[in-house]
């Protein structure tokens, strides 16, 4: 009797399960570190109210019943990364993951990602590729294989306060453009002299700033001195070079010798937020930052919004140490990063995941994204759109800087090396160590991270 009852229950459950699988829609999941109305709110709202209905309709037209579920989780970035890493390591989790471009190398080397051909055998035949900007597209490539898509990308430059420049009688304050480091420093000196209450120049340093130190600060100087962190041809990390030393000396000049910048601010708690606050309050004259700073931080109605941003704030390209002294003999330098999407190998629906990615990267969707997350578009047809062309800032920076930009080295050790860069610059700007001492320590630490055989001196 008892056994029969059990059998009946088991059969019912099996039946129900089978039935539900047959009848219910396939569900795809997409995750981002954000929540409606909060952190990264606009992109979450785009997923929920634009992408979801559009994609579901699109699939329905093809006779497929697909539900797109948006997973919201607004937490500190490090925790988001831990969560997706744990899930991927366990072979579970959402189908499409919002992903920072500079995590790519380490995730691929860890075997957590599969190239796009894993999801669709004819991925390379997608007509959308023809419209992609080759450089931006390749930011999600590793060892010649594609792993995902960039949402868009960015560029870095000097944002200067024209009002301060005018008051300090800087020449050509309305269209200022330094041609060398000395030029840049002279402007800073002039401001310090004329307006002692203003911090002339902030070039990011220290661990508090995190990746913003490496990208907005250190790299912008290093590339201008013609240096790199990684030597592509030798396949080694550069732990000592004149360019590295010149870069650190630039920091020393700015923060220690001439006090043209505020070194304590760089290493203070929540340094980046404080810097934004001071910038907004006209307390900082020049700040090296990325596009995001213009489009999200000082956007007139944003948290640190500047009311008359377009007329009050100007931008200039970051000059090389001397004209033609930059990387590839450039006069100006910039570096790019950004976020994008990768498919998760644990998906049960590879083809559908590929469909979703294609849809997400169509011109139509990319235009929607551009509106909420402005940047240098990944697609040329989007770059040519009115939205970009009618925005004087966006229309100007891309042609001026795109050919001068480069990307971070895509290696799994990058993140740890980057942390050493942050420590090293922090030690210099606080005056704890001289450039030589800091570089010695850096060389030692990096050697330990990547191994004796993968470092070189230049």
């Amino acid at each position: 009797m008892k056994r029969n009852k059990k059998m009946i229950i088991v059969l019912t459950v099996v039946f129900l399960l089978t039935f539900s699988f047959v009848s219910s829609a396939t569900t795809l999941e997409i995750i981002a570190n954000g929540t409606e109305g909060g952190k990264n709110g606009p992109i979450i709202e785009f997923y929920k109210y634009t992408l979801k209905p559009a994609f579901e309709d699109y699939m329905k037209d093809q006779g497929k019943d697909v539900t797109l579920e948006v997973i919201e989780t607004a937490v500190p970035d490090a925790d988001y990364k831990t969560r997706i890493t744990l899930d991927m390591r366990a072979g579970r989790g959402p189908d499409v993951i919002s992903f920072d471009q500079f995590w790519l190398a380490s995730f691929v080397e860890a075997g957590l990602l599969e190239p796009l051909e894993y999801y669709s055998s004819d991925y390379s035949n997608w007509e959308g590729w023809n419209n992609f900007n080759e450089g931006v597209k390749n930011m999600m490539a590793f060892n010649d294989k594609m792993y995902g898509f960039m949402k868009n990308t960015d560029l870095r430059m000097i944002y200067y306060n024209k009002e301060i420049f005018r008051k300090a009688n800087v020449k050509k304050w309305w269209a200022w453009q330094p041609e060398s480091w000395e030029d840049l420093l002279n402007t800073a000196r002039k401001i310090k002299e004329e307006m002692p209450d203003v911090t002339p120049l902030q070039l990011n340093a220290g661990e508090q700033m995190g990746e913003a130190t490496t990208m907005q600060g250190f790299y912008m100087a290093l590339l201008g001195a013609g240096g790199r962190l990684y030597d592509q041809s030798a396949g080694k990390w550069v732990v000592k070079s004149n360019a590295l030393l010149d870069t650190l000396e630039l920091y020393e000049t700015i923060y220690v010798d001439e006090k043209l910048g505020d070194g304590n601010l760089q290493v203070s708690l929540n340094a980046r937020d404080k810097t934004f606050e001071q910038y907004k309050n006209n307390e900082i004259a020049m700040l090296v930052e990325g596009i995001w700073f213009w489009t999200s931080v000082i956007k007139p109605d944003a948290a640190w919004g500047i009311k008359h941003r377009d007329s009050k704030i100007g931008w200039a390209a970051m000059p090389a140490q001397e004209p033609k002294a930059g990387i590839n003999e450039q006069d100006y330098v910039s570096i790019s990063g950004g976020t994008g999407w990768v498919p998760s190998p644990s998906t049960d629906n590879r083809e559908l995941t590929w469909e979703l990615l294609k849809f997400l990267n169509s011109k139509e969707m990319k235009l929607e994204i551009l509106e909420i997350n402005p940047g240098i578009p990944a697609r040329n047809d989007v770059a040519e759109s009115d939205m970009i062309q009618s925005d004087p800032y966006m229309a100007n920076i891309a042609p001026a800087l795109s050919e001068n930009t480069t990307a971070r080295p895509g290696f799994s050790e990058y993140e740890q090396v980057s942390r050493q860069v942050q420590i090293m610059t922090g030690e210099v700007v606080t005056g704890n160590l001289t450039p030589e001492e800091a570089l010695d320590k850096y060389a030692q630490e990096v050697t330990r991270i990547v191994g004796e055989d993968k470092v070189m001196e230049k």
Partner: protein, 275 residues
């Protein structure tokens, strides 16, 4: 002379009491006043025109409000499980002589610091995954319970030690079973200790972010400690008005629990803990 010295000492003593009180009061004032301000900032402002608008804005966030239910499930779940299992074990440890039991218990307490710490998160994740407890309240409750049990046993044993065995002896003579003795004598008598440990466990679970965040997946199961991060702006900075209000709401239950426990049972380490 002696009188003067006495007065000065008395004054100094009072000054000390005032300074210590201020030390504990001052940082908390912000939490009490800020949510009722129209335009809250990081500055302490007394709400001259108190408003409840921040509260109505917070209540609109369904996710964050539902999170309280989850916090209650996880905190009460872990607290009851810890209290039940710890009191059983503490009783046995107290009444039976085992060589080196203090050391054994202390070593368990030591181990618990690894597990409630950081490095064991990955082993725990894969353990829960293997037994199918990822994304369940039960999984979170079991991890917390495993972490807090040793400390609970360690503290409770001392309470039980302080209960005279004469009650139990007379109960045995009148033929009561071991479990009856435990239920009718030990459990009620060690109640002050249970209250202290219960409140301690509850507060720890209520505050913890990392364990529920890593071991849960569904938004619908996340507790308030995770949901509080939804009150940030687009770039992830806290919105002072909403976060201060939610903080107050998030704090009230633990304060209420303490006041209730204190009133009903007396929140004291009554006679326990002799080391």
């Amino acid at each position: 002379m002696r009188e003067v010295k006495k007065v000065i000492l008395r004054l100094l003593y009072n000054l000390l009491v005032v300074v210590l009180s201020a030390f504990f009061v001052l940082p908390i004032l912000w939490l009490i006043f800020t949510p009722f301000n129209e335009n809250p900032t990081l500055a302490l402002q007394f709400p001259l025109n108190p408003t409840l608008e921040n509260f109505s804005k917070v209540i609109e966030n369904d996710y964050a409000i539902a999170a309280f239910k989850n916090s209650l499930i996880q905190s009460f779940g872990a607290t009851f499980l810890v209290l039940f299992l710890a009191s059983l074990a503490a009783y046995a440890f107290s009444r039976v002589e085992l060589p080196g039991k203090n050391i054994i218990m202390y070593i368990l307490v030591l181990f618990s610091s690894i597990v409630t710490g950081i490095a064991a998160m990955v082993p725990l994740f894969f353990l829960l995954l293997r037994v199918g407890l990822i994304d369940t309240h039960l999984g979170v409750i079991l991890v917390f319970s495993g972490g807090f049990l040793p400390t609970a046993v360690f503290l409770l044993k001392d309470f039980v030690d302080s209960i005279s065995t004469s009650y139990e002896e007379s109960a045995i003579i009148s033929g009561a079973s071991k479990f009856q003795i435990f239920k009718d004598i030990i459990f009620p008598l060690s109640r002050p200790g249970m209250v202290v440990i219960g409140v301690y466990t509850f507060v720890q679970v209520w505050s913890n972010f990392l364990i529920p965040f890593l071991f849960l997946r569904s938004e619908g199961k996340m507790p308030a400690s995770v949901a509080i991060y939804s009150f940030t702006n687009q770039v992830g900075m806290p919105k002072i008005d909403l976060i201060s209000t939610y903080s107050l709401l998030y704090t009230i239950p633990v304060i209420a629990l303490y006041l209730f426990a204190n009133k009903k049972y007396g929140f004291r380490f009554y006679g326990g803990l002799k080391g």
